[in-house]
């Protein structure tokens, strides 16, 4: 357990991690009650939250928005990334990649002018925030394509477009899922931010802001736990989906 590269069984991992978590939580619990609420109180609040429809309504709003944003982001990313192998279109993709360095905060006003209502504003901000990260990851996948993949296409007598279809579109389809999984965190992180901009539709972000306003730190932490858990759940779900759709990735 304490040697590098040692392989340990699943049950051992489970037991080990459980003990580590319990130890950490007990240390936290034993801290003198001060500003930071204790795990037990957060747990209580979490229980209350989970039983309330308030939480689930807001989670649903956030999830729908995230999924919508992810869908549009993937479509835009794929379009520009696939086209990036055509020299004429490469600069567009490269520019999108560089857009990672634009902060969203400075663009909120422009987006407000450009969009009709709050939900559109949130969606477009999210998509604008996510696409550069997706494109960066996917472009790197494309750039690192094994030259042999193209050579096999050539020896099979494929044309350029046919090679693009086989190697990039079919061959890298599993990577699209991996990228969505890896970058889901970014979308999930931004959702709480953009929801603060237009509170009328609700969402976990609005809920978080409300609790913060009333200094209800216990509930803030409980909500954080929910957000964290949901993130992990989707991470796992996307991983599963990828293995199911592309059985060859786990070989």
């Amino acid at each position: 357990m304490f040697r590098p590269f040692e392989k340990i069984s699943r049950t051992t991992v489970l037991i080990m991690v459980s003990i580590q978590v319990i130890v950490l939580l007990s240390i936290w619990q034993s801290f003198p009650a001060g500003l930071i609420p204790s795990p037990l109180r957060i747990g209580e609040a979490l229980g209350g939250l989970l039983a309330s429809s308030l939480l689930w309504d807001n989670v649903l709003v956030s999830l729908l928005l995230t999924l919508k944003a992810l869908f549009f982001s993937v479509v835009i990313t794929l379009l520009f990334s696939y086209l990036s192998v055509v020299p004429f279109f490469r600069p567009f993709a490269q520019f999108i990649v560089k857009c990672r360095y634009l902060t969203l905060t400075g663009l909120i006003f422009i987006f407000t002018l450009l969009t009709r209502d709050g939900s559109q504003l949130k969606l477009s901000l999210l998509v604008f925030g996510i696409v550069p990260f997706f494109t960066t990851s996917f472009m790197s996948v494309i750039v690192h394509t094994n030259a042999q993949e193209f050579e096999l296409c050539q020896t099979l007598g494929y044309g350029r477009w046919q090679s693009l279809y086989e190697v990039i579109i079919v061959g890298k389809a599993d990577q699209v899922f991996e990228i969505v999984r890896q970058n889901f965190a970014i979308a999930w992180m931004m959702i709480t931010m953009v929801e603060g901009l237009s509170m009328s539709e609700g969402g976990v972000g609005t809920l978080l802001i409300k609790y913060n306003k009333y200094n209800d730190l216990v509930h803030v932490m409980a909500l954080q736990a929910v957000i964290f858990g949901l993130g992990l759940f989707f991470d796992h779900l996307l991983g599963r989906l990828r293995h199911w759709l592309f059985p060859y990735v786990k070989l």
């Binding site: 094994n146 007598g157 060859y248």
Partner: protein
Amino acid sequence: MTIYSKGETLLQVKDLSLIYDNKCILRDINFSIEDIIRPGIQQGQVVSLIGRSGIGKTQLFRTLSGLQKPDRGQILVRESRPWSLRPVHAGDMGVIFQNYYQFGWRTVEQSLMLAAHQNKGLMGREAEAILEYAAQFDLSDVLKRYPRQLSGGQQQRVSIIQQLLKGSDFLLLDEPFSGLDVCVLDKVVNLLLKVSLSHEFKTLIIVSHDIVTTVAISDTVFILGKQDGVEGSTIVRSIDLMERGLAWQPNVQEEKAFGETIREIKACL
């Protein structure tokens, strides 16, 4: 002695040179492969390319197949209609690479199907042809598997069948005999022979370290080597095995002249 004559040129390499980072790898390579005509028999031929490790065999393959542009010189292949010699394009030749790369996202069956679809002669019979080859090559059980689930030898056979299904006249094989057990080796050798006999213009070019096995099925041997004092490899010797009566004989390995030829080739390396 068998009667034969040489006909039209199938492949011509003129003054080919290949340079990497100012280092000459291949220099002034000239050779041509002509159709071999035997009265009353339709058959292709086998050419072997022999040389030490690192001499540039794989690089020569890559240039021959059109995957790599030579720095100088030309590679011309036969165009049937209208009859002419034209520069080679990638895709004209079937190439079986040294490491048998296959698409990781395609099952064996799918990979073979991709190749079969490229062959107009197989139109409508692709699936049948795949099953037939798979049975011949001991691959029927692995058709549904992905390349990563195959042994090295199985991957190699998949690569060979794939290019056979594609059906180009030229088939370049880089080390087709390495890593095969004796049983499968015989099978592969026989299959290659069968392929070479299947059509008048079928031409197999084989690179191998297994000199005996390769020469036994060859009609012509080219030896790639270095000449004293100059950089870059070139064809230092070509041996016409037909002239020596060492072609088209199933038991050629038992002939005395065969042993002598092998010694002669080894001396050139």
